[in-house]
Symmetry: C2
Subunit: 347 residues, 2 copies
């Protein structure tokens, strides 16, 4: 497995020396790799997603701050190449994901303190593992931490075709939860519905269909106890309207850029609770927790069994990074497509 | 104390036989009082508030439903005149408040099952006790059930001059909580500020002043952990903006008739929780609880010691009920004035 020769290699990294438009401030830089010190690990990166949060971080508008100069990329997966003398918990060939905020994964190689790395199984699809700590983890926690759901309970979400939404659909199916998934209408709506149903979606409705639906009134489907909102605006109001009394809506995104508007009666007479979720906060509070290890174990097992698939995605070479930035900034198309930097091909 | 002769008396009650505009459907009716049966209590009513909820109930738009024909009035205080043979927990001279929904307090006399009554001290101001189960209880619970507040913590509320808001101010002061109270600007603003400060308000700000205030930024005042909203619309958004991270906003009214609008970042990055409170729900769940008795004991003790005063109010004779309905429907003036039916004078 160790075919790599550190001594003569240089690293390519996508760095920025000031905050701003990623297309302007991000530059490819070369540096020579140094040998890992006693508590360090040399990592060769495989793939790293380009997420909206990465773009916001580089713009300087994300609540996670990094010191400049910095390397882009919050998450990704790499392979351990060499470990320092005192490192016992990693060995060459292991796969790792970042265990620190604003890590800087958009590079081919890097040397890191072992405590900033988290070991993951190396027998999985690298694209799936690369996103482990964001979308699958967000979906996993939102289905677990807000409402005590039992098999047969119903979850409603908007942005059902988003990267996180697809994880929600699959984790609902794994846990025998019924998912009602709302998407925007579009020309290829039937293709999208079929795709999400193939992932395990019980119902896929356009926003227009949701307003007229009788799936709840006819009692075929119990009222949802949990609503997951990544859109805001009218879409958020609509999904919250279908919640059962005492239900909870969790907001984890605002793709419409419109705020969440809630009628007073939803608070007073329906006792709906409106919360927010930010994966970064949970990770800060649970960095070393058993619960975090259990979550990653569960998610990796779902991936290994084929029950949790990555969303449609496209690998882009590191030197073509502007394409990945532009495509992530203007996500379109009928499935929430993810763009990842392929850090081996660019090497 | 027993100067009343049941045998020859009739009762005047303000009844409605259909739901609709209270000014049209409410009629004064007379009936002869029957002797209380074994498990019943004969009650002479003293005063009964006219609340917005009463009006909504008569309109048929309140989530508490009553069977028709019905008598108006959800709350009020009365004196026990005579008890049935099996009634041991009440005696003549005791004061009672309703222990049932949609009770029908707008009457001079009535016979009720003893289980539908709740004994209260008879040495207090009847106007204060008459409202015990709504505004003071709502304020008491909202300050206790959502956030674990300790002395020195800060509570922000809008509608600071409302009947409930005035209770919040006083119960904050009793518990050494700092209250920041937001009111609408008005010509008599200085008089209102002085009045609320005399009740114990630490800060009284107009909505305009709140937007420009530096009381939080200069750290003289810690950020509030709890916001109480009875207005909605822009006012609700503004008070929620000042909450500390992980704070909670509780909505218990919507006087502006506008919904609550929340930016996505308040959910995700500030982890603000938005809940609702409805006193009726709490009472349903806690009708016989020790916590309810403790709450009434505490509130009556606050009233007895002069630390919890009724808001400015006006007593209106039962036969002048249209005036009470009209004034309650269009509350104006610089202090949240309450209107109550005086059920002794009309007898």
């Amino acid at each position: 497995m160790i075919t790599f020769q550190r001594q003569n290699s240089s690293c390519t990294k996508l760095a920025f020396r000031q905050f701003g438009d990623p297309l302007k401030v991000l530059k490819l830089e070369e540096e020579t790799v140094s040998a890992p010190k006693a508590d360090e690990v040399l990592v060769k990166f495989i793939v790293a997603p380009v997420n909206p949060a990465d773009i916001n971080l580089i713009q300087g508008v994300y609540p996670v701050k990094v010191e400049l100069p910095a390397v882009g990329g919050i998450e990704g997966v790499g392979e351990v190449i060499e470990v320092g003398a005192n490192v016992n918990n990693f060995k060459p060939g292991d796969w790792i994901i970042p265990n620190a905020e604003g890590f800087g994964t958009w590079r081919t190689l890097g040397v890191f303190k072992s405590e900033s790395l988290f070991k993951v199984p190396n027998d999985l699809n690298a694209v799936e593992v690369a996103g482990l700590s964001s979308n699958p983890s967000t979906a996993y926690r939102m289905l677990r931490d807000f409402v005590n759901l039992k098999p047969g309970d119903v979850v409603i979400q908007n942005g059902g075709n988003s990267a996180c939404g697809q994880n929600v659909i699959q984790i609902c199916r794994i846990n025998n939860l019924i998912s009602v998934n709302v998407v925007r209408d579009r020309p290829e709506i039937n293709g999208l519905k079929s795709y999400l149903e193939s992932l395990g979606a019980d119902y896929v409705l356009t926003e227009e269909e949701l307003r007229k639906t009788d799936i709840f009134k006819t009692n075929k489907v119990p009222k949802p106890n949990l609503a997951l909102n990544c859109v805001g605006g009218r879409s958020a109001t609509e999904i919250s309207r279908h919640l059962a009394d005492h239900g909870t809506m969790v907001t984890y995104g605002g793709m419409s850029r419109e705020p969440v508007t809630i009628p007073t009666s939803a608070f007073i007479f329906k006792d709906i609770c409106f919360r927010g979720y930010w994966m970064t906060r949970w990770t800060r509070l649970n960095k070393q927790s058993e619960e975090r290890q259990k979550m990653f174990d569960d998610l990796c097992e779902y991936m290994r069994s084929g029950k949790l698939k990555a969303p449609e995605h496209e690998l882009i070479r590191l030197d073509n990074f502007p394409e990945a930035i532009m495509k992530t900034s203007s996500v379109q198309g009928y499935i929430g497509c993810k763009y990842l930097l392929d850090l081996q091909k660019s090497n």
